[in-house]
Amino acid sequence: MRLDFAKKAVALGLGLALLAGCGGTEQAPDGPVELSFWAWAPDIDKVVDKWNADHPDVKVVVSKQAQGDDLVTKLLTSAKGGNPPDLAQVEFQALPTLVSNDVLADISEGAGAARDKFAPGIWDQVTLGGSGVYAVPQDSGPMMFYYRADLFEQYGLKVPTTWDEYAQTARDLRAKASDKFLGTFSSNDPGWFAGLVQQAGGSWWSVDGDAWKVSVDDAATRKVAGYWSGLVAEGVVDKSPMYTPEWNKALNDGTQIGWLSAVWAPGVLKGNAESTSGKWAMAPMPQWDASAPRTGNWGGSTTAVTSGSKKQKAATEFAVWLNTDPTAVEALVTESAIYPAATSAQEALTKPPAFFPNQPDFYTQAAKIAATSSGFTWGPNVNVTYTAYKNAMGEAITAGADLAPALTKMQTATVDDMKANGFTVSG
């Protein structure tokens, strides 16, 4: 009742403005179709230009937005308001949230055939384990270990292959250079921690019939948290967040001589610490079980079509083109510096990133590592878990305490939120 009144009053007041010609831009049905595309990958507009050159009838207009989480916020709001963009770049972990809020369209009809272009583990993430297809994978982020080869040599350090060795290397480094760290435990990067958990075989969400099962504090996660608790307590790794000016400085001046990161790290290193070009090297992640190497994923995104779009067919066509067409994917790699999700494109990468001239087989190794990625099911409220991570881990670190209680808080926050929203949560 009240809402209806609200609608009418606003319509009355602002209708005048509409008449003045400032309103929406409805398309003539027979003119060229225009698709709006929200994305944050750098220079993705240059890739889109290639599509526009070949498709005069379907013009894609890129609007660059702030990164993932902010974009999810805007997508949810715009979908509620009934006018989302036609296409959006969406991170893997945000897909269930957006699907659950009915923001994304099921594009299985137009995109289902693209399935064999991707590794099964990647494709499962866009189907959410069901029959629908909610996005086309764009890039993935298999995790790897990056280290300053020159400083490793200087201090006589060996590249750690297991987590035990990683801990020992961290100690050895502190003993030789008390102002340096092998890495940092970041309370600000839940995606990074989730990647480490994936590697250890953890699973935070799973589907059990018609119910969700949440196990953010499962054994694997406890193992990872316990390991880092030890290193932080011992003081052999840093405990400041990543992606701060301080961290950038530490990468630049060699205070941090290692980084547990993902395949896209060269771009970040180049942007943040250009003077260290050619000094870094990449190796597989340290392992829990050296005989069965695994890795997790950090980052990675997709191209999704919104359910509110009136041009879903054209949009789906574009999403498939962007992520499977050889020229498009090649442009994504060269212009936007992403690691393509499409398997054929991964194989086509032969030259190392410009920042790693010293490692000519960078992408061959990367592909091998990517093949050891663990699968992972994301839940419908990853944001809640991530926020709980930031709050609880930050608190635990400042208190100098064990990280394990933080996991309990993450678990409780996640389950409480799902229950409050009426999800059926089992276990």
Partner: protein, 296 residues
Amino acid sequence: MSAVLVEDRAVTPTPRARSVASALGALPTFVLLLGAAYCLFPVAWVLVAATKNSGQLFSTTTFSLGSSLFANLAELFGYRDGLFWQWVANSALYAGVGALLSAALSGVTGYALAKYSFRGRALIFNALIAGVLVPGVVLAIPQYLLMSKVGLTDTYLSVLLPSVVSPYGIYLARIYAAAAVPEDVVEAARTDGASEVRILGSIALPMMVPGLVTVFLFQFVSIWNNFMLPFIMLGDDEKFPVTLGLYTLLNQGNTTPALYTLVVTGSLVSVLPLIALFLTLQRYWRIDLLSGAVKA
């Protein structure tokens, strides 16, 4: 008694009192300059940081000048075919037009609230003031949802319209009108048969100009700096104001480095128009006019 004493001292100050006074004379200036230094210090940081390339930004000592000011500017202006200028132009449009309308609206409303007594005056005034009690972050979503009902989201108007109403501006304008527009001048004009609109337009508003300039300035700055409203309302990055544009450069996600040098240089460039505006309006900002008007 005290008056006598004081008067005595005032007429023939002792040498000692005079020296204390002159020592104190430098102190106020010093305190004020100290305040200015505190406020300018981070601005100086931006100025220096804008001359550094990203390597220098994270390796050299804070106040050593870098070598890349022009390279940074060229990169900023070249970013996506000069999109930065589009953002600056958008900000100027939102803030300029918004603040102008806001000052006009505040002037008219403030005058009416100060100079007429009418039924509902207190209610209207209190309701307007209460408007500031609701945080902008909270209002943004309902405003968005209501705007989208009439198809106004992602338009210039969606950012412009909510910026026009400024409770604080109305309050200030009311204070000004009360002090600067003498009752007898209004009455005299009425006696001469001037219409109410004419009294407002040609007598009251001109007298209120210094106050309205202040309202304009405050509102200009607050629209220029507003983040939440455009963040929610706008999807098309060609309509972004400069704050939102710089924010997208800063928050590119984990897989892409933040473009610190562009953001720092962009911050510097985007603050310059505001400084220029202050310096220009400084002239009109002679608030003493007000007391003159009261006396007249």
